[in-house]
Symmetry: C2
Subunit: 104 residues, 2 copies
């Protein structure tokens, strides 16, 4: 699905790491939320509240989920899940375009 | 208006200037389009096809529209219009969060 239909978009961007990571929230009628974001080259760490499904829309990132020992690389067309109340480390070599779904 | 309601969002980002400028397209039921974007620090030039209204959602940019002689600075809550089939130069000191409306 290349489009998100019948949604509400929060206009103002979320800005992290001096703008090297930015995203915008998309709200669905059923109360669920996704964010569409871009990460520029860098190393990052994020915490989760809800579980997250990260879908790669472009570029790539290499990811280590808390409690795991293996870094895994994800490219356009792939996705990975991060548990609730956890964290994950990311290495972005160039740019990563992603869609993050928050799982209830 | 802090939200865009009943819209379709194209998931994949538009990436310009090595990712220093990124945006996503938002489509309205009436056939109009906006983009929500972030520009990191830098100097940029863009051409217009349709006229554009640039609304500042955060940060600031200093703008020179083709044919004008004065650079003008716009901050959160302000906006400016660029004519159709024109161009504009931008200087972003830190970060600019914007909503661009394409005027038919």
């Amino acid at each position: 699905m290349s489009e998100l239909k019948n949604v509400t978009v929060i206009k103002k961007a979320n800005v992290y790491f001096d703008g090297k990571v930015t995203s915008r929230a998309v709200l669905f009628e059923d109360g669920t939320k996704k964010t569409l974001g871009v990460m520029l080259a860098g190393d990052y760490e994020f915490n989760t509240d809800a579980a997250e499904i990260m879908e790669m829309l472009g570029g790539e990132m290499t990811v280590l989920i808390a409690g795991e020992t293996e870094w895994k690389t994800y490219q356009e067309g792939t996705s990975f899940k991060v548990p609730a109340n956890s964290s994950f480390r990311l290495k972005v070599p160039v740019l990563a375009d992603y869609c993050c779904s928050y799982v209830k």
